[in-house]
Subunit: 204 residues, 2 copies
């Protein structure tokens, strides 16, 4: 049962430590030196374990202060996996399609979660900003959907999208207004229809 590699053994023991002590995000975990002495392993092995967990986004290190459990949001991981996995999946259609579908998902979520206050803020912004970009607009939408995972995935897709389609698309201002009206009325059909219009997609 003992992990053959020391750094894996350290990860394992650290997990037990966290479970037993009931440590939560923000809490401090042992320093590299302390843990290496306590478990009788070299400091470099402890570092390998910590670095791995850090890349996973599970812990956070602050030089001069220490190492802490992190508020996990699936961030680093999705990013990394993205680059490693999506490398040969650059089919233009898939990226395009997936981005659109996720944007629509977020619109649906916004319809459920949004309150008048949020909508008002969005309205103010769109009226004040003369030349906002499509990205800025949907960033706000997806933020309002309050799903961090969607946000992360969307950010990656956006990058791919631009690498495939360097020309900055321009959309009609009126279409954004229509979309906001759909949201304001909490009308899913109307909102999605406005989205289709905005993106020049053929509707069903």
């Amino acid at each position: 049962m003992t992990s053959s590699k020391v750094y894996l053994e350290i990860v394992k023991q650290l997990r037990e430590m966290i479970t037993i002590d009931g440590l939560k995000p923000g809490d401090k975990i042992p320093s590299e030196r302390e843990l290496s002495e306590r478990l009788n392993f070299g400091r470099s092995s402890v570092r390998e374990a910590y670095r791995a967990l850090e890349l996973l986004g599970l812990i956070e290190t602050r030089r001069g202060e220490g190492t802490f459990i992190r508020d996990f949001r699936g961030n680093q991981l999705v990013q990394l996996l993205g680059t490693f996995i999506l490398q040969d999946e650059k089919a233009k259609r898939d990226v395009f399609e997936t981005k659109n579908y996720i944007e629509m998902d977020c619109l649906r979520l916004v319809l459920q979660r949004m309150d008048d206050h949020h909508l008002a803020i969005l309205h103010d912004w769109i009226n004040k900003e003369e030349h906002f970009t499509d990205d800025e607009f949907f960033y706000r939408i997806i933020e309002m959907s309050d799903n961090h995972l969607f946000l992360r995935i969307w950010l990656i897709l956006k990058e791919y999208y631009y690498s495939l389609n360097p020309i900055q698309d321009t959309y009609k201002f009126e279409d954004y207004i229509l979309l906001l009206n759909g949201l304001a009325e909490k009308d899913e059909a109307k909102t999605l229809s406005a989205y289709y219009n905005l993106r020049n997609l053929s509707s069903f």
Copy 2:
């Protein structure tokens, strides 16, 4: 844009190296000593980068042989994430929600793309297999949606999902049938309603 930490810089450069050389799973990447000399970093830093990628399951090391790119499998993550994430209720909700929404997106895509032949195959399978799992079912659905990106994302989400919810959910056989009926009739409302039923979600 230089990463402040050397090991992150090494991860970055390694990724570029992989992209440029077009390396695939199974291919060998530079040995720790070679890379440390080539990039002018210490071997321990290279090790930190390699160990992190290994824990992620992206590379594989064989003592005495070398280090190789791996065909991604999220197995390691499953146990890991559980310990670190469990407290974070919002992250949990995000994973759950995102997985569901993507499954629904794929259902919509299937509605557009599916032909009778595909549907027949799915029908045959579901009638032959007595005890299929939910994963197996939706894997087929998502495959049929013919969007590789969604498939990749879904596979990752599935891993997250099980790390958060180790209990294998069981669903009703009839609900799958209803879902297939919805697909057969190319009726989006009916299909999604069946999905909501299957997953015990409150409909709108």
